[in-house]
Amino acid sequence: MNILLFGIAKDIVGQSQLYFSEGEDAPSTVLELKKKISEKYPEFRKLTSLAIAVNSEYAEDHVSLNGFDEIAVIPPVSGG
């Protein structure tokens, strides 16, 4: 499962993509994905809003994920 990271998500993880191998490790819903990222990278816990897109479409927490989905983690950005 390939996850594209944007904004501060990229800075927290230190790279622009994140992989979850198939099987037990891979989250099955958007909510699970958020939990897994926060466990692995605790700095995500302080983010109030975090948008997740699945196959270029905004996805609510209940949306299920599979290995072929292209997932994007999009935090808000404020600079101008």
Binding site: L4, F6, G7, I8, K10, D11, K46, L47, T48, S49, A51, A53, S56, E57, Y58, A72, I74, P75, P76, V77, S78, G79, G80
Partner: protein
């Protein structure tokens, strides 16, 4: 209208005289005359938008110049909104420019927005973005959003013909210090230029009825690999039903007041007789201080406010930049002057690079 002036875009199929006439009749409010606002203002004004409002209460600093290309070295210390209006007037004498030399606040936002057809969110902080969002929903005005993070930017058109709003994407405002701003995180000069121009294009399309709007789509631009992602998202009905502003836009203090100035700029500030307040202790000040600085130890700051001229920018200085930041937080609670700045890295940094 001088047709010759706009001939190259009037000639353009799909735009024509009708498009030019629509630009002339359009009224656009641009909130923020910084990194994003500068390209937005410059192009809208050059292309013939009839009435442009500029909201900004910031002053030009040396650290703005690499990305805010409308401003010159001799503009440092002057009001952005006023300087911008002056330069835009020289660029196109036909346009009507309305200067709001103030921050956008809960008190003035509805009055300002009401006078325009569209709003451009060219701000640099979350509280103002949520304020613009809510005001535009209340008054049913579309707004064109742009924001930056490092080498990346986001663009979208919100509240357009029943389409989604900023809150449909990010429902809750981030807390203070949760995410870094351009001052802390840094920004490559050209990135706001690109994002601001994308916003300006959406404004022009919106006015002239061209193409497809970025409504319900968030465009994410990455300058490092020149890639664009478009994320579809949908309106959540509750976000379109906002009828009044919230009582409190949490930590509503535009982060322009938190602006920092690089220690390397201190020599220039000194040469320009800028108001520099040294907030270190008496002992430290006695041991070493820069000429022409005002000394008020941080512990005595609040009881000596009258010593500071808040009509002028206030540059706060200490040894390492920590106390000046604290001093800035103290002052910002009490004053909304011409701008408060903390000198990053303080005297340590200044002495390391300038002596």
């Amino acid at each position: 209208m001088n047709k010759e002036r706009y001939l190259r875009q009037i000639t353009l199929k799909g735009f024509g005289s009708a498009g030019q006439q629509k630009l002339k009749e359009a009224k656009v409010l641009v909130v923020g005359a910084g990194g994003l606002g500068v390209p937005v203002l410059t192009y809208l004004n050059a292309m013939g938008v009839g009435k442009i409002g500029i909201v900004d209460n910031d002053v030009v600093t040396l650290t703005n110049l690499h990305r805010q290309v409308l401003y010159a070295e001799n503009d440092v210390g002057k009001s952005k909104a006023l300087v911008a209006a002056q330069k835009l007037k020289a660029q196109n004498s036909d346009s009507e420019l309305i200067v709001y030399n103030t921050y956008l606040t809960k008190e003035n936002v509805l009055e300002f927005v009401r006078n325009f057809d569209f709003v451009v969110d060219a701000t640099d902080n979350f509280p103002t973005r949520y304020l613009i969002n809510d005001a535009c929903v209340i008054l049913n005005k579309p707004f064109i959003y742009g924001a930056l993070h490092g080498y990346e930017g986001q663009v979208s058109v919100f509240n357009f013909e029943g389409g989604p709003t900023y809150r449909c994407l990010f429902p809750t405002m981030p807390k203070e210090n949760e995410l870094p701003n351009c001052n802390e995180h840094g920004v490559l000069g050209i990135i706001p230029g690109i994002i601001g121009n994308l916003q300006a294009l959406e404004v022009v399309k919106l006015i002239a009825g061209l193409g497809t709007m970025l409504s319900g789509k968030l465009l994410i631009y990455n300058g490092l690999d020149q890639s664009c992602q478009k994320i579809k998202f949908y309106a959540k009905p509750e976000n379109l039903k906002i009828k009044e502003l919230q009582n409190f836009y949490e930590w509503y203090e535009p982060c322009t007041i938190y602006e920092t100035v690089a220690a390397a700029d201190l020599s220039k500030l000194l040469a320009n007789n800028a108001q520099i307040v040294d907030v270190r202790s008496f002992k430290e000040y006695k041991a070493y201080h820069l000429e022409k600085t005002l000394h008020i130890p941080i512990d005595e700051l609040e009881s000596n406010l009258s010593m500071i001229d808040f009509q002028q920018p206030v540059y706060l200085l200490c040894q390492s930049g920590k106390r000046s930041e604290r001093a800035l937080n103290l002052l910002k609670k009490q004053h909304k002057g011409k701008g408060l700045f903390s000198i990053l890295g303080g005297l340590n940094q200044y002495l390391a690079i300038c002596s």
